[in-house]
């Protein structure tokens, strides 16, 4: 346990080594948030969609941005690179669990992102957008939101880790990562909330794990989810994370006997 805490710790300190590592993503994040706000303001100014108010939309974007980095898993990038370059051998001779090693790194990244992206964004949003943002207060919603976030972290990490492991088969994984990310951007509700989706699209979205990363947690906090549907939501959400964990274990079992170390 202590070693994973140390890895978590070192990941955070590594992130603060290069200043550009901090400022660039921060800037990119702000640009994205600004775009979202302007786009939706324009849409609402032209024609207010039925059933959604601008304040609801802005609150959706705000909460979304505050939790987005929870589900931006990037650890697999390093995993596939290590596999690609053969450096994975140095990880395989250590007495730790590779999955937990990368999970510790991912949690470290989340903390870094919260400090560098979340906090500044929170400050700016409160300054300029507070009239728009309305989060109904309800303790059980907040508690359930917390659970949803943790589950979202696990689902996102597992999907990312699976892509990373795929490097053992396909070596180059960035195409696959982009594909998965793009599908995710559509179906998780990052760009367009799922309540604007047509029936067939909504049906597809519900077959995928993506809404559990983004759309459902936000909706819980917005008070759009009935307490009665908490149970079914929990069951499906949990089965996604458990299912993915099982798949990863199977993949790892297959990998072990067919590992080829690149570059001698």
């Amino acid at each position: 346990m202590k070693s994973y805490i140390r890895i978590f710790h070192k990941t955070i300190s590594t992130s603060f080594v290069y200043r550009s590592n901090l400022y660039m993503p921060m800037l990119a994040y702000f640009v994205f948030v600004f775009l979202q706000y302007s786009l939706w303001s324009a849409v609402f100014a032209l024609n207010e969609p039925k059933g959604t108010t601008i304040s609801q939309m802005m609150t959706y974007i705000f909460i979304g941005m505050m939790i987005r980095f929870l589900t931006t898993a990037t650890a697999s990038d390093q995993l596939s690179q290590e596999i690609r370059e053969g450096k994975i051998e140095l990880m395989l001779i250590r007495p730790y669990n590779l999955f937990l090693f990368f999970l510790a790194k991912q949690l470290g990244r989340i903390v870094v992102d919260f400090i560098t992206k979340g906090l500044p964004l929170l400050g700016i949003s409160l300054l300029f957008l507070s009239p728009f943002i309305q989060i109904p207060y309800n303790l059980s919603n907040w508690l359930y939101f917390g659970f949803c976030c943790i589950n979202a972290v696990i689902i996102a990490f597992c999907m990312d880790y699976m892509i990373g492991l795929m490097a053992f088969w396909i070596i180059e994984t960035w195409q696959l990562r982009f594909l998965i990310q793009d599908i995710g951007n559509v179906f998780s509700g990052v760009f367009i909330p799922l309540w604007f989706f047509s029936e067939p699209f909504l049906w597809i979205a519900n077959l995928l794990p993506y809404p559990y990363l983004y759309f459902y947690p936000i909706n819980v906090l917005l008070g759009n989810v009935d307490h009665t549907s908490f149970l079914s939501l929990t069951l499906v959400g949990l089965s996604w994370s458990i299912g993915l964990l099982v798949v990863i274990m199977l993949m790892w079992h297959l990998c072990k006997s067919r590992i080829v170390i690149q570059g001698g």
């Binding site: 202590k2 070693s3 805490i5 140390r6 890895i7 070192k10 300190s13 590594t14 080594v17 290069y18 053969g86 450096k87 051998e89 140095l90 395989l92 001779i93 250590r94 007495p95 730790y96 669990n97 072990k256 006997s257 590992i259 080829v260 170390i261 570059g263 001698g264």
Partner: protein, 339 residues
Amino acid sequence: MAFITVDAVSKEFKVEVKQRGVMGKLRSLVRPHIVIRQAVRNISFSVDEGEIIGYLGPNGAGKSTMIKMLCGILHPSSGQIRVNGCIPYIERRKYSMAIGVVFGQRSQLWWDLPAIDSLELYKDIYKVSAASYKRSLDEFNELLDLHEFAHTPVRQLSLGQRMRMELAAAMLHHPQILFLDEPTIGLDIMVKEKIRDFILQWNTQRKTTVILTTHDVIDIERLCNRILIINNGEMAFDGSAKELEQLYSREKQIIVTFKDAIDRLPPLLHTTVQRREGNQLCFAVERSEDVQEVIKRIVNSYEVTDIQIRAADLESIIKQVYQTGKRDVAHEVVYSHFS
């Protein structure tokens, strides 16, 4: 029972052969051309505790593959490896506590952080107690002068500094076995010496078993009490450096400097002229028993200013083993594979 036993181990890889040209590339997308390459063929040996083994072979002979199987990273295709009663590739995590590894070509230090941070990380990963960590660090400092650069980020270290740090990182948890894959590659003589002294000291004081691959003959001469040579994935030699010399180096070189230029030599037994530089001639005598006779004949017929007798050095002997062990690669099985 021996500390490490390797029993009839083979390892084969499936390699996809890329076709040439655009059409060929497209064809191999649909129907990849798979070739099975035998990296290690039926190798057996055993190692006792405290030995320093030089595991040699030309590039691509299957050295690294064997080392990786011994480290528990790769599964052998057939055969079995046992180290101290443990099967490395099955009990990977338990086994990893007992081994230390330095791969000269790859770094195990965190690139962006000060070197000492990586050591701290390994201290926790290997559950090294604070007291033992401090003691080891003092010892590393004394032998490898780590304090000079312990707080510099790894990316700013010179190769020599980094290798010393790598060695410290590998030895922090006092492993029973140390695997060194070309630890002195690209280093200057001073650092090489430091590293060799360090390895020797740990071996004598703690009975650490060392398995070393290298292309540096001085590493072998200074460190190894036993040499294994593999070629084309097969064992070509197993024994001490002395035995290797006796086996392969019955040849002697005689370098004679004549007073005057000579154009004709007397007939000499089992002897060939290897080189000629002005008045200096270099003879190769096949059997050392003939050396006396050859010299007698030369001295009797000509005026000579200098004579040197040399045994073939380890480097040329190893070269000889590599060459005689060479065979055609007819073992490759070729088949196509539909996917």
